[in-house]
Subunit: 175 residues, 2 copies
DNA sequence: CACAATTAAGTTGTGCACAACTGGTTGGGG
DNA sequence: CCCCAACCAGTTGTGCACAACTTAATTGTG
């Protein structure tokens, strides 16, 4: 991990150099802040998970997959993708790696041979026990109490819903 | 773009199937929510930017680099990385692509040949004009007003600071 | 039944993030 | 003066995200 905090606290000081920027320049700066903040927060979270999950031999997206499997049990790749908002292009190689690690079992459905059922192996189920400590360590790392986390999560979910709707609007082919 | 909203509004319904989960299972679920929400929000943002930035021929991280250059002017790769929290492993190939696109100029500093100065080309500076419309479109996509965005950004920055600090604590080699 | 449209998973290619490493450059002790 | 530690950019390798495409199975309709 790099020492981004080398100088002092928060390394980003985007203080304006010009006295009174035009309205649009102001927007540009504000925009920088929100998109950048989210990007940075996501990567910071990823970094903490990376450290904590190293013991378990999982990456952050792999951990998300395992959480769904622990909670839901066996389910097809399609369903897994709907829960995680990921498509087969991302999940296929990821699941193959989990399979190679012996945590996951993949088998074609007999009833519909297009579908592949993903389930836990003995070892994959057992890993859940070792994963129980993870949430507490993450919560501690955020320095927030449960209520704060819940509020933030709700705001983020609202944002995601709005952004998804907007993406469909913005998508090419919408007159 | 995939139609993740196929069924209705928000596709994630992680309602518990068991009646009264143990405290640690509850933590596991809560944890799922926050880490997943942030992950999803980040990718949703990325998706909106992807659509909007396609006109400019920029990816989201490339746009972030250009924002810094527009605001700060010429600066070494190191400084650029500090502003964006990215290292040379990410920036070097990204900057080469921007250079190949004719937007950016890279040259070794004469005074310190370890350092590479990154600056805008004529074309790179000109692109700023076309980028002015971006923030408004993004803000519209979020469906939030300026104040809401500012509040969320502040929460995210706090979170990032806390997480970075925690990552250093968790890092191996800390007794 | 036949055949076109749809659906599921997988593959390919591009780009980003990051760890680990390489190769010059610089600057400070011995 | 020389060597070595620190430093900067770049390279390599792994994994994720996503668009575009392929392959195979299923479903619907004439």
């Amino acid at each position: 991990m790099h020492n981004w905090l080398g100088s002092k606290g928060y390394p980003l000081d985007m203080t304006p150099l010009q006295p009174a920027p035009a309205a649009e320049d102001d927007w540009l700066r504000l925009d920088h802040q929100i998109c950048f903040s989210l990007h940075a927060a996501s990567r910071a979270f990823n970094g903490v998970y990376r450290v904590i999950l190293k013991d378990l031999g999982l990456t952050y997206p792999q951990y998300l997959v395992m959480l769904v499997l622990w909670e839901r049990g066996e389910l097809p790749v399609k369903k897994l993708g709907e829960h995680l908002r990921l498509d087969s292009g991302t999940l296929s190689p990821l699941l193959k790696r989990l399979e190679a690690a012996g945590l996951v079992r993949r088998e074609r459905s007999a009833r519909d041979e297009r579908s592949v059922q993903v389930g836990l192996t003995e070892e994959g189920s057992a890993l859940r026990e070792r994963a129980r400590q993870v949430p507490r360590r993450i919560a501690a790392a955020t320095g927030c109490d449960v209520e704060e986390i819940r509020t933030l999560r709700e705001r983020l979910d609202e944002l995601t819903t709005a952004l998804d709707a907007a993406a469909l609007q913005e998508a090419p082919g919408c007159s």
